[in-house]
């Protein structure tokens, strides 16, 4: 099973699309590793610089409809090869979310209120996430701040994470 822990990259915007996560010009790559330098290259956000902010991160916290647009699994892959296996947001585009779990990664929904609270308390600070998958709890810690937030994922999504993705699961079952 993958690691769902690490330093958090806060992307405080809704509708971050697949082309911002990994532009189409890199879809000619046929290995996942080749995508590594290009994650979030086209995302233009005040205070965000991919060359500075991506490398130290192990998790993303964002807003609504993350991953909208293209079906490209290159989006999860570009996150994965940068050791980011979890995205937490208010909602996700269907295909993106499915792709994440299909790769044994996680896209976890939290309410807007909880996200507001997280952004207020932690954004701009060095924040660590530790995920307790079994208990269904996120542990957020930063200097002078600590917070536990319960989360839920479906039994099927959990089975995919535990099976390391959909290919392994489907090969076992169908």
């Amino acid at each position: 099973m993958k690691s769902f822990n690490g330093k958090i990259l806060f992307l405080d915007r809704s509708d971050i699309n697949t082309d911002e996560i990994i532009p189409a010009r890199y879809l000619t790559e046929i290995t996942k590793e080749a995508l590594k330098p290009y994650l979030l290259e086209d995302l233009e956000m005040t205070g965000f610089a991919p060359e500075r902010d991506v490398a130290p991160s192990g998790a993303v916290i964002t807003r609504a409809n993350f991953g909208c647009g293209s079906s490209r699994e290159h989006a999860p892959w570009a996150l994965e090869v940068n050791d980011i296996n979890i995205v937490i947001g208010e909602s996700f585009a269907r295909i993106f979310k499915q792709n994440m779990f299909n790769c044994g990664m996680m896209a976890v929904e939290l309410s807007r209120d909880v996200l507001d609270d997280l952004m207020t308390r932690f954004a701009g600070k060095e924040t660590e996430l530790v995920t307790d998958l079994e208990a269904g709890v996120f542990h957020f810690t930063a200097a002078g701040e600590a917070l536990e937030v319960p989360f839920e994922i479906s039994d099927f999504d959990r089975a995919l994470v535990e099976a390391g993705g959909w290919v392994g699961y489907a090969d076992q079952h169908y």
Partner: protein, 430 residues
């Protein structure tokens, strides 16, 4: 309790219900192209599972970058080509008879009412125009589809969008879907199937219905879907005439994939289009839509007519009608990419290609190319393109470029003036 079209299709294809509302369904067709399939192929090879569930149900095409533009795209084509050959995939379309997948596969008769289809391409929702459930998926879902012929989805929630009124002259399916997305928002149909109906859809050609369903994903929808009717049967008749005694018999059989009158919808929206005017997008999200009239005069560098949204013969006819006997504005680059070889040949025969070329357009071979900034019309930083495609994300047609989505008529009119223009000044109408 009655069922929606998607619910009926799922019920007839259910393989497993592993937990909750997850439904694993049997697939009637798995479509493949050279951008998202090669990684699935190499992964299956690495796992020692280089097999396909049924070569006759897999259709493959090289369409995104063709002819190959560099060594990397050549390798993507090579992997797909060799895989198709190795597994006896007869319906594989390579250079010479390839075209944009969502225009090519319907044209070849690969889609039927009631079908379940996946492809590693978000605009797979296009095929719902035939009363099929057709969903874009990622490479892993595609990989399992190729291997096992199944895919997992949440039980479909259907949103019904009834389109009423009568379209004014100069207003097309593209204007309708842009306006619908403007109303729903880019997240408005997430995890839902959009069932398009109502008198305007009933009166639409299959081409127009495909334009409508093509952009369901831009509102987040899993699939667009239109009930099969005589228009569907007539389009499919050359492919199904051996299966049915008469078109009426086909229509009756396909009636199994129309919604019950007491079907339960997650949401129902009535969208009146009697006063709809030509629309265009203005930002970096497809729900940022306003009337062309409010954007008139905004300068463009390029006009692109093509894609799985609007690269079909009807679209070329509409654009040619505007361009006929005129020349595009000096300094504007006009690019026409007929979506398939059949569209290209029909356009040649009808004299449309001559009209485009006389007007100053460059005509490319059928390919997805510029739509996603890969080839054949990529924008430079700071450039603006009026485009009949489906996505206006920042950088979509090239880093730093801006795309305004619009109908073929509006795009053609815009090419003539070099700035966003309502086609009615050339053709009458709204």
């Amino acid at each position: 309790m009655g069922k929606t079209i998607a619910e009926k299709i799922f019920a007839s294809h259910l393989v497993d219900n592993p937990s909750g509302d997850i439904q694993v369904i049997r697939l009637d067709a798995v479509f493949c192209h050279e951008i998202t399939t090669p990684v699935a192929i190499t992964d299956l090879e690495a796992r020692g599972m280089d097999r396909v569930f049924d070569p006759a149900r897999i259709k493959a095409v090289i369409d995104h970058v063709t002819p190959a533009k560099d060594s990397k795209t050549a390798m993507q084509g090579k992997i797909l080509r060799e895989w198709a050959l190795r597994h006896g995939i007869i319906d594989f379309f390579d250079i010479g008879d390839n075209g944009v997948c969502h225009a090519l596969f319907p044209e070849k008769g690969f889609v039927r009412p009631g079908y379940t289809i996946i492809m590693g391409d978000s605009h797979t929702c296009t095929h719902g125009a035939f009363g099929a459930f057709a969903a874009g998926v990622g490479t892993t879902d595609l990989e399992v589809g190729m291997l096992k012929g199944v895919c997992a989805f949440h039980a479909p929630q259907t949103m019904k969008v009834s389109i009423t009124g009568e379209l004014a002259a100069g207003v097309y399916a593209k204007d309708v879907i842009l306006a619908v997305i403007g109303k729903l928002g880019v997240n408005g149909a997430t995890n839902r199937v959009i069932e398009f109906g109502g008198p305007v859809v009933d009166a639409m050609s299959m081409e127009a219905r495909m334009t409508l369903c093509n952009m369901a994903i831009e509102a987040g929808g899993t699939s667009g879907i239109c009930a099969p009717d005589m228009t569907t049967v007539t389009y499919l008749w050359p492919f199904i005439q051996d299966e049915f005694d008469s078109p009426e018999a086909a229509l009756e059989a396909y009636g199994a994939f129309t919604a019950d009158s007491d079907a339960v919808y997650a949401e129902e929206i009535v969208f009146h289009v009697g006063d709809l005017v030509p629309m265009a997008t203005f930002g970096y999200k497809p729900d940022q839509v306003k009337p062309i009239a409010e954007m008139v005069g905004e300068k463009v560098d390029q006009v692109y007519i093509g894609s799985c949204t609007n690269g079909r013969i009807e679209d070329l006819r509409v654009a040619a009608e505007v361009l006929k006997g005129r020349h595009i504005h000096k300094g504007v680059r006009g690019v026409l990419s007929p979506a398939t070889p059949a569209v290209y040949k029909a356009a040649l025969k009808e004299g449309l290609i001559e009209i485009f070329m006389d007007a100053g357009f460059c005509v490319t071979n059928p390919t997805c190319g510029a739509c996603l900034g890969m080839s054949n019309g990529v924008l430079a930083e700071g450039e603006v393109c009026a485009s009949t495609t489906n996505r206006n994300f920042n950088g979509r047609m090239g880093k730093g470029g801006m795309v305004h989505l619009m109908s073929p008529a509006s795009a053609a009119a815009t090419a003539l003036t070099g700035a966003i223009t309502n086609s009615h000044i050339y053709t009458g109408g709204e």
